[in-house]
Symmetry: C3
Subunit: 159 residues, 3 copies
Amino acid sequence: RRGEMAKMTQLINNEVFRAYATYAAIVLLKMMLMSLITAYFRITRKAFVNPEDTESFGKGENAKKFLRTDPDVERARRSHLNDLENIVPFVGIGLLYALSGPELSTALLHFRIFTGARILHTLAYLIPLPQPGRGLSWAVGYSVTFSMAYSVLKAAWLL
Amino acid sequence: RRGEMAKMTQLINNEVFRAYATYAAIVLLKMMLMSLITAYFRITRKAFVNPEDTESFGKGENAKKFLRTDPDVERARRSHLNDLENIVPFVGIGLLYALSGPELSTALLHFRIFTGARILHTLAYLIPLPQPGRGLSWAVGYSVTFSMAYSVLKAAWLL
Amino acid sequence: RRGEMAKMTQLINNEVFRAYATYAAIVLLKMMLMSLITAYFRITRKAFVNPEDTESFGKGENAKKFLRTDPDVERARRSHLNDLENIVPFVGIGLLYALSGPELSTALLHFRIFTGARILHTLAYLIPLPQPGRGLSWAVGYSVTFSMAYSVLKAAWLL
């Protein structure tokens, strides 16, 4: 049992894997933050989608008028979905990349640029910044994940 | 080759990792179940979104009337999206957490509470239960993932 | 440090894990491709959702008319969401499956059928092919993930 545990912790002691774990946790937390932002807009804008969520505002027609869409809520939801579409591939491909034995400095460069790009993307979406702010930050994150996928396929290729 | 395979299976023999694998598989299967529930409501409520899905109901206007939204279908879809937003971070952060060397009892507590909370969340969404049933079950699962992320960052922190 | 790195690369040298890494990267890249397809349809059909995305088309009413939905854009978005709902469980459960020590030939069979099924699913969605083309390709991918989940639970079961 002790021997096993020691072997397990070797993975977390590896510096590339530690860097991956740090940045993967940060971008996943950033993605989870979108739930709170959507909830904040739903409550302050009084814009809900489930009838049972409006019951505290009264019964019948009085509550029904809060079953509506709101531009800020929809914007936060789109930003959240974009995170799912981009952060999930980063976390999956990033794990394989971290296990493919890259240089620590190269790996850190990938992880840091991706994390910075996704934070900028969320700011560009929510403020919102004029284009191509959001488009560019999206493209930078996308390219980092693509670059890691290339490294993984070069190292692991087995069809 | 044999030596390698032996080393691989050490990971699955580690008790914390086995617990993680069990609960991650269960919540991912629970998430996959939402596809079947949505399909069930689409077929029984005859509410489709793709024209090619209604062709068995006849041609032209006769089929077109089934291209519509239905409250039960939309509810199942929202529950599915909420699973994606919450179960995906659990699976990603949970893997890093399992590799960070937690006590088995602490890890089991995290995995069990999360799994229970997400099953309750789906029931609260689909029945639906009055609030704050759904809200509380969401918050419990969210807090468990947050607690695991804190442990991961404490163990792995390398910016 | 060298010893650690050597242990890390043992994982990527394991043939089942290499096969997993290859197919997981391929299906994640396929999922990422959906972003480009959606962007292509948004630009060619001039159908946007964010006001700041239409500013290059002029100001005021002139730009506002491009804030609309388009059937091809919505179809690509549904295909992308279906990928998230199905490829994410494959990547998560597939990792646990690869670590549970399956035969290489059995593992390759799972990974290849899933990858083929999801490529067919995207083609069936975008062309679109008449049903049950899309339905069957979805069911095949779903069954492969389910079969891997069964193997994981049999190997790891620890509640």
